[in-house]
């Protein structure tokens, strides 16, 4: 049975992980590659790196991070942040990323989705959607890190990106993001019901129960979390055990590279 995925997300600024991270066992807790290797070891199913560096002029830092990650981590990982052309995508995929994610650039120029899907295949193209449930109940797409409203309906946009070739949707609720109070179940379900590709729920993870709710009620195919894992208070395997106990199929085997090889 296909398992539900837990995806860890790192915001990276000039090659360093931002947001507080307090793993005592790491030599360098700000190095995204060290963290990626640790999360892989602890049983994470997939990783996302979002480059939030203000200037994307110099891509060498990100390329270096992607290459070093591909050297050490043998699970899928996605890279996003400031990718504006299929050549930008190519650079990341060639460096070892399995998928790329685009957000604002896709809203500004939707053809970018199909260009990427045509050149690399839909399975590489993750469209990130930041959406807010407005007081009137409508669900609106925001861009520029959630700061700029677009007037576009989130469910309509989700359908469109899939038609254009997105292989997966990473859906972040601006209402719940950062509160660790649970995912936006209604938004997640509305988008997941509307599209035939996998939907990753994002924004609001604070406990295993939140992840269970996003999957059972929100119909999410994967759940993304950042800070819940970064402080070590919710070990990944503990979270997975709770999710499995709730009847969700999870990848539980925990194999260490050195033991298996």
């Amino acid at each position: 049975m296909l398992t539900k995925r837990i995806i860890a997300c790192f915001d990276v600024d000039q090659g360093r992980v931002v947001k507080g991270i307090s793993f005592v066992e790491l030599r360098d807790a700000g190095d995204p590659v060290e963290l990626a290797a640790l999360y892989d070891h602890e049983g994470i199913d997939e990783l996302v790196f979002l480059d939030i560096t203000a200037s994307h002029e110099d891509r060498n830092t990100v390329v270096d991070m992607v290459r070093r990650t591909a050297d050490r981590v043998f699970i899928p990982f996605t890279v996003g942040g400031g990718l504006r052309s299929d050549d930008d995508m190519m650079l990341m995929l060639e460096s070892g990323a399995d998928k790329i994610t685009i957000n604002t650039a896709a809203v500004e120029r939707p053809a970018l989705i199909s260009e990427g899907a045509y050149r690399f295949g839909s399975q590489c193209i993750v469209v990130a959607i930041d959406a807010r449930t407005e007081p009137d109940g409508s669900m609106q797409v925001y861009t520029h890190g959630g700061r700029r409203p677009t007037g576009i309906d989130a469910v309509e946009w989700a359908r469109e990106v899939v038609e254009r070739g997105a292989g997966e949707i990473m859906l972040t609720s601006m209402n719940t993001d950062g509160h660790q109070d649970g995912y936006d179940i209604a938004l997640t379900r509305a988008v997941s019901d509307a599209v035939g590709v996998p939907v990753i729920a994002s924004g609001g993870a604070g406990s295993a129960q939140h992840m269970i709710d996003a999957i059972t009620e929100g119909k999410a195919d994967a759940v993304l979390a950042a800070s819940i894992f970064h402080f070590g208070t919710h070990p990944i395997l503990d979270v997975k055990r709770q999710m499995q106990a709730a009847g969700i199929p999870m990848r539980m085997e925990h194999a260490d590279y050195d033991d298996v090889l």
Binding site: L2, T3, R5, F74, A97, E253, D258
Partner: protein
Amino acid sequence: MSDPRLADLDVIILDYGAGNLRSVVRAVERVGAKPEVAAVAAAMDDADVVILPGVGAAADTMSNLRERRLVEPIRDYIKADRPFLGVCMGLQALLTVSEEGGEHPCLDVLEGRVVRLPEGRKIPHMGWNRVEHRRPTPLFEGIPNGAHFYFVHSYYCDMANRDEVVATTEYGTDVTAVVERGRLAATQFHPEKSGAYGLRIYRNFLLQHSSNGASK
């Protein structure tokens, strides 16, 4: 730990413009071999093992292989029962025909059709799925039956000869996960993205065909 027995193995990873070979190269290196990436058929002449990776669509894969004049050399190599490992599209390209984006003749070294996954589930089939062994093979040594591997695909291999299917996974139907015939093996999942057990697939296959293995 990497295996010293694999250090002298001549492993060729075929580059036909399918993009990201880096993770396959790194996986093969991680288990102790020193692979060479090659885009010309002549590289297969002295190879101990040839690996055909790949993502994307069947039609592109076939036209890329044709452009690089790799179609006949791959067929001949496999016909000679030399060690060959296909991964994902590198499995699907081996079948008779693919229905992805129309009808596209493929390499036709394995009898069967590449068909769309059944409706009713999210497509692509993306994520870690449980792989059930259908019969024992050295390829699965050290890998528990039912361990999970990472899949990303929208079409699957409907094999004419079921005895060539050594493992399956469930996704609306019994999906071919691993095929094996003689020294040919191929996986629908991505072993280079499937953690430690994925790397173990590479190690097992390479060891089988190393000078210290049984079959050379």
